[in-house]
């Protein structure tokens, strides 16, 4: 027996499940926790500042400078987040992409999770059940970052020589290689799906390359920040044009 609700395991209407009030409440809960943390921290800094000779003006300057320099990057994150709303719904995008995680890790995690269920994000196999599992799995993945922080920070604070003395080459080579392989493997897996996927992937890569090249040549810091959003939107527009014109229609 099944009570008719917004929920239907086989339905591909992801947003009906992804935008339910309880998820909104949880998302706003994370916002509230960060605000509380910030208030406690600012108060703690105010009390400690005289000990290192920092004036109240210097504290205000630091806060304001941090806030102003975050405007560009924050809006750049907003742009990418909006593009992902139809895939994950607003609450999941706010928490996973806007806050705790980042665009690249969270979409990668969700795609890996969907893959283990032989489903594709956004495809006809992307049902509410698949979304629920993918959301749970990517959230558990994000929780591991926090868990590692909770475990390692006190150890590092005590100055554990062993952790600090981990071969620096390991710390640079291994994670870099892991990250590259993860994104390449997931990216390549997109290509055989259809000609349109190829258009999306390579146009995005080309625009990103062009943006980063121009940013470096002309020393445009804002372009580097916005490159990801610009590349994704351009790729989606080009793919939309290709789909509408029936470029690869059978």
């Amino acid at each position: 027996m099944h009570i008719p609700t917004a929920f239907d395991s086989g339905s591909t209407d992801i947003l009906a499940a992804a935008n339910t009030p309880i998820l909104w409440i949880c998302a706003l809960g994370v916002f509230a926790v960060i605000i509380v943390q910030t208030l406690i921290y600012v108060r703690a800094v105010r009390q400690a500042a005289p000990a290192v000779g920092m004036t109240s003006d210097e504290l205000k300057t630091s806060f304001r400078t941090g806030a102003v320099s975050a405007i560009g990057p924050s809006l750049a994150v907003v742009l990418v987040a909006v593009a992902l709303l139809t895939v994950f719904g607003t609450p999941a995008v706010l928490v996973r992409i806007g806050l705790i995680g980042s665009v690249s890790y969270e979409t990668a995690a969700a795609s890996i999770a969907a893959g283990t269920m032989e489903a594709e994000l956004g495809g006809p196999t992307y049902t509410q059940s698949v979304f629920a599992v993918a959301f749970m799995a990517m959230s558990l993945g994000g929780a591991m970052w926090m868990l590692a922080t909770l475990i390692f920070t006190p150890i590092l604070k005590r100055g554990d020589a062993k952790l600090r003395r981990v071969n620096p080459a390991v710390m640079i080579v291994v994670p870099g290689a892991a990250m590259l392989a993860a994104f390449f493997a997931l990216g390549f897996a997109e290509l055989p799906k259809s000609g349109y996927h190829v258009v999306a992937f390579f146009s995005s890569a080309a625009v990103m390359g062009a943006c980063l090249f121009l940013a470096k040549q002309l020393n445009l810091k804002w372009l580097r920040e916005w490159a990801l959003g610009i590349a994704i939107l351009t790729a989606l527009v080009l793919t939309y044009v290709a789909v509408s014109s029936g470029l690869f229609a059978a």
């Binding site: 960060i34 290192v52 992307y126 926090m146 890569a205």
Partner: protein, 247 residues
């Protein structure tokens, strides 16, 4: 220093407060972030096979476990204890929080790794957090949700179907450019292409863990084929850097 002066006491209080409340708020944040998906899985009436969650999580762990551990270790010397609990909850560390902290430190002439630098970074990250929270709420929470409700269905369909390919194309280029590790990049391309285009078509049952296989193989190969001549130099430089940061 062996004697505890008033100043030291003030800083010790700061360390205690931020450690206790930083940890506590992070644990609460962690639990709330899991509560949402847990509700969908266990209480919404969706039929979810729970072993699927474990499989999906293991596939993600195979891919990212190294990064879960290495990132906190890497950022600690730059962020300091207090900001660690902020940064890993607010997210977007390298593209937003670190630049904010560094700019604020230079605005008040505070060096990273010093106490002044630590306090300036906490203030800067707090400022960045507030801007970020409000821009997310307004532009994604309200305007974004409205935007999604008014865009035509065929546009939504294209976005849903091709968003992943569009994100990954750009992210791959970003990773190559920001890491600047030619050797590892070539290894990653060759290994990932062989896994996706040769191994998985040959043995389809490996598809579940194809990304993890590519990641682990690349990490191992990149380690054994690393540029050893450059390493010695890096070693001593990093050790020196770590020493200065310790103070």
């Amino acid at each position: 220093m062996t004697t505890v002066t008033g100043h030291d006491a003030a800083l010790q209080t700061f360390d205690r407060t931020t450690a206790r409340w930083g940890r506590l708020t992070m644990i609460v944040g962690l639990l709330i972030s899991l509560a949402g998906p847990a509700y969908l899985v266990f209480f919404s009436g969706l039929e979810v096979d729970q072993t699927k969650i474990l499989t999906a999580f293991l596939a993600i762990a195979g891919t990212f476990a190294v990064i879960w551990i290495v990132e906190p270790l890497t950022y600690y010397p730059i962020l300091g204890q207090a900001s660690m609990y902020q940064a890993f909850m607010i997210g977007n560390i390298s593209n937003k929080l670190l630049p904010s902290a560094l700019i604020a430190q230079s605005a008040v002439n505070a060096k990273p790794g010093t106490r002044r630098g630590e306090l300036a970074a906490v203030m800067a990250i707090s400022g960045a957090a507030m801007v970020h929270l409000f821009s997310l709420l307004i532009f994604v929470g309200f305007m974004g949700t409205w935007l999604v409700s008014v865009i035509p269905e065929d546009v939504t369909k294209v976005v849903q179907t091709y968003i992943l390919a569009s994100v990954l194309g750009a992210v791959v280029v970003q990773a190559i450019v920001s890491l600047k590790q030619l050797r590892a990049t070539i290894i990653a391309i060759v290994v990932s292409a062989s896994v996706v285009f040769l191994l998985v078509p040959a043995i389809p049952s490996l598809a579940f863990f194809s990304t993890a296989i590519a990641v682990i193989a690349t990490a191992v190969l990149a380690w054994f084929l690393r540029d050893r001549s450059a390493r010695l130099l890096d070693d001593s430089e990093d050790a020196q850097l770590a020493d200065t940061r310790n103070r």
